[in-house]
Structures are given as C-alpha cells and as structure tokens.
Subunit: 232 residues, 2 copies
C-alpha cells in the first residue's frame, strides 16, 4: 500500500507536469472523435465542452487548434469548430500516401529484419489464419492492427510511425467509415504472407512493392464498396 501510493501520485504529477491541460483536453477530444462519440460534421460547442472538462474555454480552444492542424477538425470563423468529414476523394488520396509510407516501412525493414522478427511476424500470420478460419471477424481487426503497428514501429523511424498513425486516424473520419473496416475484413492473409516473404528475401524493392500494394489493394476494396452504393 505504502509503496503504491507515492507511485500513483507521482504519475499524476508527472502527467500534469509534462502535458498541460490543453494536452489532456486534446487527447480526450481526439478520443471522442476517433471513437465516434463526436461524429463527422458535428460542431464542437466550446462552452458545452469546456464545462464537460471542467475548464475554461482557453485551453479547449488551444486543443482544437492543434486538432485542426492535425486535420481532425476544421474551423470556420465565427461559426465554430466541426469534426472533419473526409470525402471519398480525399480518402483515396490518403490511401495512396499511406501506401507510400507503408512501402517505405517495407523497404527499411528489408535491411533490418532479424530471425527473431520473422518469427514474431509468422506468429502473427498464424494467429490471423486461425481467427479467419473461425470466422470470428471481430477478433481479426485488432490483431491485424497490431500486426501493422508492429511492422511500422520496427522500422525505428519515428517520423514514419507518426505519419502512418496520423493517416490511419484520418481515415476513420471517412464517410461510410464502416467501409474502411469492411475492406479490411476480407483481406486474405495471403497478402500478409507476401509481405513477410518479401522481408525474408532481404530484397528492398520487392519488400517496398509488396507493402505498397497491400495498402493499394485496401484502397481498391474501399473504392469498390463505395461504387456499389452501400451505406452504413
């Protein structure tokens, strides 16, 4: 008991010391947006939200400015701040840029890959195969996410990681957001194996192309579901 108390308190203090109130609000808002509690197009009422967080409007406004720069909200003067709504066109653009960045991850990893890393990746593949076989698609999504996260993080390129995650977040604001996930669900694990095999070969260009194409195929799936006029 005595050992935990100071630790917890120190954590709280550290949080308040490191990140300002603005930072806390920003993360909170980002969470609300990404979980869909604040939906695309919805206005962020300053008074209402600052009351909810128990602060004044100042820090909240600073937080929204930051989110605006990150592309999660847009601000219209004298009208307010709104959760961004990513159009299908922009979503397609983002898929391309994300493909390029993910491709870079493949290229970099081809030079960094170790046996240990390959073992970990194969474990991921097996796990996803298993889940896919059981048709338990709700379990597939998080593992798939962890797989991609592991790959991107393993490059050791912090700039790349940050960018990649930013785009993944933005895609959550795409209209017909469900389609983004739907596209991912039908991903055959074959593409993943191609990526891992390319890494194992140590061939930079091949790995880059495999990673790039994986995202491009997601894009194509996204687009085709769009055309069929499916709705949420």
């Amino acid at each position: 008991m005595y050992h935990e108390e100071p630790k917890v308190q120190q954590n709280d203090l550290t949080v308040l010391r490191t990140s300002s109130l603005t930072g806390v609000i920003e993360r909170e808002l980002e969470h609300l947006i990404l979980t869909g509690e604040l939906k695309p197009g919805e206005r962020l009422n300053e008074i209402q939200l600052s009351a909810r967080f128990g602060t004044s409007r100042g820090p909240l406004r600073e937080a929204t400015r930051s989110l605006q720069a990150k592309g999660l909200v847009e601000s219209i003067r004298n009208r307010g701040v709104f959760v961004r709504s990513v159009s299908p066109t922009e979503a397609l653009e983002i898929y391309d840029v994300r493909a390029a960045i993910f491709g870079l991850a493949g290229r970099l990893l081809a030079d960094l890959v170790t046996d240990q890393m390959l073992a970990r990746l194969n474990a991921f593949l097996d796990q996803m195969d298993e889940i896919a076989a059981s048709k338990n698609f709700d379990d597939y999504y998080p593992v798939n996410l962890a797989f991609h996260d592991y790959l991107v993080t393993s490059t050791g390129n912090a700039t790349l990681v940050k960018e990649y995650k930013g785009f993944v977040n933005k895609l959550h604001l795409a209209r017909a957001r469900g389609l983004v996930q739907a596209g991912g669900l039908s991903v055959s694990n074959r593409e993943h194996r191609e990526m891992v095999d390319a890494l194992a070969s140590g061939n930079r260009e091949r790995a880059q192309e495999a990673f790039f194409r994986h995202v491009e195929r997601s894009k194509i799936r996204f687009r085709s579901t769009l055309n069929t006029g499916a709705s949420a």
Copy 2:
C-alpha cells in the same frame, strides 16, 4: 484613387473574415521561423510577440499550438514555446519519408503525364542546365524548388502536396541548415533527367524508383557533409 481605396479595405476585411487573427499570426510566425528570423532553439516570448502583432496573448497561443502540431515549434510546460531544432537523426528520417512521398508522386505522374507536361519539364531541365553551366548557384536553388513543386502539384493529390511541403519546411529547421542547401547545389541535372525519362516511359515502378532515389541521394549528400564535420 477612389477606386482603389475600397478595394484595399475589402481585401483587409476579407482576410479578417476568412481567417481569424490566429491564422494570420500563425502564417506570420511560420514565415519568421522559415526565414530564420526566429532561429531553432529560440524561445517565443508571448508578451513580446503579441505586442509585436498588436494582439493579446490568446490568439498567439492558439497559433503556436497549431505550429506545434505541425512540428515547427515545441512547447515545454511553464517554460515556453521554442523553435524546433531538428537533429541530424531526425533529418535523415524525414529524408526517407519525403523520398517515399516523392516516389509516390513519380508513380502517380507516370499515369498522368502528357506531352505538354513533358515539354514543361524539359524546359525546366534546360533552364537548370543553363544556370549550372553559368555556375550561378544562387539562381539554381529557386528553379530547382519550382521544378519539384511543379511535379508534386501535378499529381493532383492535395494530401501528398501538403505532406511534401510540410517535410520540406521541417528540413529547414535541421541543424546545419546550410548543408541541406549545399547538398542540393551539387545535384547533377542527370538525376532530374532520369526522373523525366522515367515519366516519359510511363512505367509506374520505374518512375517511383527514380523519384525515390533522387531524394535518397540528397539524403546521402546531406549525411556525408555531416560526417566531414563541416560547420555553418
């Protein structure tokens, strides 16, 4: 006289109507940072700057939050906001990501390229050859910039353009900033021709690789000037 007065006033009003004071300050600060008037590591004094812009501290703080999200400044609680200083390591990371994005530009352009576009690009190449021959390096840099800008913009992918420019800006904050330019100066126009040729071939992968490698070579030049221990 009478005809101009209202127009000027309307321009001012339009600017203030469209973008808030925060937006104006943000652009102004970004300019100060990128031109080097505010140097990496330097603190942005709120009182001083808000007095300079003739506003209160609120809008200024919002502007700096936005710049923070863009990676141009960093904020330390209770200490202030500082112009970011990009380490050599981070600069190398940025070069890689920029290469990936620029490579995507090449890939996209390979499918979009027209004779008219090729003519324009060849005009750029000739112009740069000319300048290089005259050894007037100060003229080379802006044309080189315009060349790259033209390429990126021609993709029609606004997300790509925004990202690319963001990274170019960030690289301006790299320590030994002169080296970034110095690296560019010695660029042989041959690389540029390779890029244009790749576009003319219409081969996606080839174009992507040519564009990618062009930036990678810049990175290598940057790194080598770093290792020789050259200083500003």
